[in-house]
């Protein structure tokens, strides 16, 4: 049983969550609420680190407090005007308070190194899911090369269970400035950098929605580049993939809206698979209406929000790179209705 496990089971996560809960509501992004293997091992290690540093604080801080109180200058003492005995040092004491910290450092270093290698150099299992992540100002592109699926901002992965461990291996690169992929409950963050591919892996203990956001300042709307990871049962995930692989739904009742979309500049930036829209500068819209949010997770996907976003993207995210499309109200309604059918 590892040292971290011993410590972390003593200082139960419930204690810490309970304390955190006093101060903050149950953390949807708390690092003390791990739900994936990397996050769990980091949590155990952090319990060890916190106990050591907490112990040092209590001991050293306690000694300081004691010294300040015990050795305070008392004016009513006899001999209070005399200087205290001058002590210039003590080799034994100084040696011991050098050696003990060195031992603590060695121990902490070894515990840390173990987790670094276990996480970064974990062998990739055969059934791992491959996802390519492309960071953009200010949205996330997700590509599933083996399935031919491209989507945006909402990452779907299969959840692991007790029998099968199904990690998702993310190969990440940026299309413009530095970003960072951080979903605290699942794993630590890894930066998403242009001209450099970084890889990390995540897995989820249980199906659910895990929140995160870009964690490297990338420009004006860095604060609104949010992340949503949907961990699904293997069956649900397979169904999701199958659906995403379909080309765009064709609903004849919105044919006019589709015509507006295809005759405007929309198609230069966006892809709707199965149509003439093949732009790659902006998010893939083939199954836009199957997502829960727009504007990279910052507002829910409702007809009204979509309408406002198309009319003026800057109303939600000033500085977002999509320009206002200057459609008249009629065309705007048509396009919005069309996009809402792209489930």
């Amino acid at each position: 049983m590892s040292l971290e496990t011993i410590v972390s089971s003593t200082l139960s996560p419930h204690m810490l969550s309970a304390f955190a809960g006093f101060v903050l509501p149950p953390g949807s992004t708390s690092i003390f609420n791990p739900a994936g293997t990397p996050a769990h091992s980091i949590f155990s290690l952090s319990m060890l680190v916190l106990s050591i540093t907490g112990g040092v604080f209590v001991v050293v801080g306690g000694l300081l407090l004691y010294a300040l109180l015990r050795y305070r200058h008392r004016t009513n003492d006899p001999g209070s005007n005399e200087e205290p005995q001058q002590i210039y040092g003590s080799t034994q004491i100084e040696l011991s308070w050098t050696v003990i910290p060195v031992l603590i450092v060695v121990m902490l270093f070894l515990a840390t190194a173990r987790i670094i290698f276990a996480t970064q150099d974990a062998p990739k299992p055969q059934n791992a899911l491959d996802v390519t992540v492309v960071g953009h100002q200010f949205w996330w592109e997700f590509r599933y090369p083996k399935f031919g699926v491209v989507t945006a901002n909402e990452l779907h992965i299969p959840a692991s269970d007790a029998q099968t461990h199904t990690p998702a291996y993310l190969s990440m690169i940026s299309a413009d400035t530095d970003h960072s992929f951080w979903v605290p409950r699942l794993a630590g963050k890894t930066d998403v950098i242009p001209n450099r591919v970084n890889t990390m892996w995540i897995d989820a203990d249980t199906p659910g929605l895990y929140l995160g956001q870009c964690a490297q300042y990338c420009g004006l709307e860095h604060a609104k580049m949010l992340l949503r990871v949907y961990a699904q049962t293997p069956a649900d995930f397979a169904a999701w993939v199958a659906h995403q692989q379909q080309p765009a739904l064709e609903d004849p009742s919105v044919a006019e809206g589709r015509a507006v979309f295809e005759h405007n500049a929309c198609i230069s930036c966006h892809t709707v698979r199965g149509t003439v829209a093949t732009g790659t500068f902006g998010p893939d819209l083939t199954h836009l209406a199957s997502r829960d949010t727009i504007a990279s997770g910052s507002v829910p996907l409702t007809r009204d929000n979509l309408h406002e976003f198309i009319a003026n993207p800057a109303s939600f995210k000033p500085g977002v790179l999509m320009p206002p499309m200057h459609l008249n109200d009629h065309d705007l309604d048509l396009v919005t209705d069309y996009l809402m059918t792209l489930k």
């Binding site: 952090s46 040092g89 308070w97 670094i116 930066d191």
Partner: protein, 557 residues
């Protein structure tokens, strides 16, 4: 032998025309005047940087606030960081160094007085150049031209493509100039310490403040050069078609990070070493005991200087270095905790067995000791790379470094102000106002920076102009913002104390604290020539030997 000269009677200074006074200060090469100008300049920018912080905290007081636009917020955090590091912390520390180092070694001035003046004025120009960007730059969506790329100015955000106009250039040029000023002062300090010590002052009899300023200066020389090189490369990228950091043409974003942090990490040790220096002088005097373990303190200081250049990539644990690379930087970052811890233990050893006087300089020093301890411990937490993979770029890091810079450096600077103000002006600062300053600032500091750790642990990312409503961070952020206002009020009390005491403070005399180093042997303020007779010393505490001829330090060294 150092002599106690009779204090000059405090008479009204004879009226001279304002132009003559101005001319004297602008053309001075006297280390004391230059030191005071550095300090005054830093105080001005402290207020400016503080206002920038308060504006940000108003924006963040509740989620989805609309007090500031994203652009203005992003400019503010860039300017706040740049200002506080380069135009507050560096100048104020160089100011104290300039003032104190020659006095503490019994010298008449610095080794190169004209280089001293040049370094100061180039730094001043740099600060005003940066702020000129608010009105002088162009190309930023109508928000004025102040840089908005963060104080690390990561590539490729600073490339022409992503930062059109000149805002980034103001950042680059002003820091480049400030760096030249810093290098000049560093050379000056080293030359002074090496060649201008008074008779009898061997290296092992130098006050620890002098040791620490020497190490700090060496570190400045090592650290500023890579930053200057990187800035020149950035300018070449932006204007002459090179692609060092231009990722769209094969350049490397990570290369900028390495260059920046090879500067950036030693830089924070540049800031903390003089602070250790102040504590090494103040804590013994108010504990009435010699510093515990002088040789270990020297070794720890030099050791910290050397190790600090090997830890820089702990700022880059998340950029995708190999496991071996990450592990090396974990080890180096933990190793540096050992000499730093030794210093804290030695201060504890100094206090132990002493007679602690809770005057204002000591109160701030005690605040420093506890807060620096906590800051060091959160630093060790962050040195654990996997923990940093979670917490890098979160508010936990912001809390950590503000604990170091405000809880450590600023508290210690306040102590230094109250301690050396009598020497610099001949007047004592008000003890009563000092206590108000201390308690208000302590409360405000903890109200702001303690909760910040928790929102960071809960996943709040830094450099964000707002945060979602549904994360539950609103209450803690409100507390954080209120603490900022309390600190602002405390700072106003301090500034008032500085000004009021200059005119109405009690006369200080040469040695109001009953201290032991050479600066207390001359008048307050010292005459232009510092010492009427060049001193000769025989121990580390020449004034202790004079005051205690029956038990001088020379018996124990």
């Amino acid at each position: 032998m150092a002599t106690q000269t009779a204090p000059l009677p405090l008479t009204e200074p004879s009226r001279r025309p304002a132009t003559a006074v101005l001319h004297e200060w602008i053309t001075t090469v006297d280390h004391k005047k230059i030191g005071l100008m550095y300090i005054g300049y830093a105080l001005l920018f402290l207020v400016v940087g503080g206002v920038e912080a308060m504006l940000m905290r108003i924006q963040l007081i509740r989620p989805e606030n609309h007090f500031l636009s994203p652009l203005v917020f992003n400019q503010l955090f860039t300017m706040h960081g740049t200002t506080m590091i380069f135009f507050v912390a560096m100048p104020v520390l160089f100011g104290f160094g300039n003032y104190l180092v020659p006095l503490m070694i019994g010298a008449r001035d610095m080794a190169f007085p004209r280089l001293n003046a040049f370094s100061f004025w180039v730094s001043v120009f740099a600060g005003f150049l940066l702020y000129f960007s608010y009105i002088g730059g162009n190309g930023l969506y109508g928000g004025g031209g102040a840089p908005d790329v963060g104080w690390w100015a990561y590539a490729p955000l600073t490339s022409k493509v992503f930062s059109p106009g000149h805002s980034s250039d103001y950042w680059t040029l002003s820091i480049l100039l400030a760096g030249i000023g810093s290098i000049g002062t560093a050379i000056n300090i080293i030359a002074t310490v090496v060649s201008m010590r008074c008779r009898g002052m061997t290296a092992y009899r130098m006050p620890l403040l002098v040791w620490l300023y020497a190490v700090m200066s060496g570190l400045v020389l090592v650290a500023i050069s890579p930053l200057t090189a990187a800035q020149i490369m950035l300018l070449l990228d932006r204007y002459l078609g090179s692609h060092f950091f231009d990722t769209q043409a094969g350049g490397s974003a990570v290369l900028w990070m390495h260059y920046f942090w090879i500067f950036g990490h030693p830089e924070v040790y540049v800031l903390i070493l003089p602070v250790f220096a102040f504590m090494n002088e103040i804590v013994p005097v108010f504990s009435r005991k010699a510093i515990f373990g002088y040789p270990a303190m020297v070794a720890a200081s030099v050791g910290i200087g050397f190790v600090s250049v090997s830890v820089w990539a702990h700022h880059m644990f998340t950029v995708g270095m190999t496991s071996a690379g990450n592990t090396f930087f974990v080890l180096a970052s933990m190793v540096i905790a050992v000499p730093t811890g030794i210093k804290i233990f030695n201060w504890l050893g100094t206090i132990w067995g002493g007679k602690v006087q809770f005057r204002v300089p000591m109160m701030f020093s005690i605040g420093f000791l506890f807060q620096f301890l906590i800051a060091g411990l959160t630093g060790i937490m962050l040195a654990v790379a996997p923990f940093d993979w979670q917490l890098n770029n979160s508010y936990f890091v912001v809390a950590h470094f503000h604990y170091v810079i405000v809880g450590g450096i600023l508290f210690s600077l306040f102590a230094a102000f109250y301690y050396w103000y009598p020497k610099m002006t001949g007047r004592m600062m008000s003890e009563r106002l000092g206590k108000w300053h201390f308690w208000l600032f302590l409360i405000g500091f903890h109200a702001t920076f303690d909760p910040m750790h928790f929102v960071g642990l809960d996943g709040m990312v830094r450099r964000t102009f707002t945060y979602p409503m549904d994360r539950g961070w609103g209450h803690l952020n409100a507390v954080i913002s209120i603490g900022a206002f309390i600190q602002a009020i405390a700072t106003l009390v301090f500034v008032y104390n500085l000004v009021h005491s200059y005119f109405k403070g009690a006369p200080a005399g040469p040695d109001p604290w009953d201290a032991w180093t050479l600066e207390w042997s001359t008048q307050s303020p010292p005459p232009a020539y510092n010492f009427a007779v060049a001193p000769t010393v025989e121990s580390r505490r020449p004034l202790w030997d004079l005051k205690h001829p029956e038990d001088p330090d020379t018996l124990y060294e």
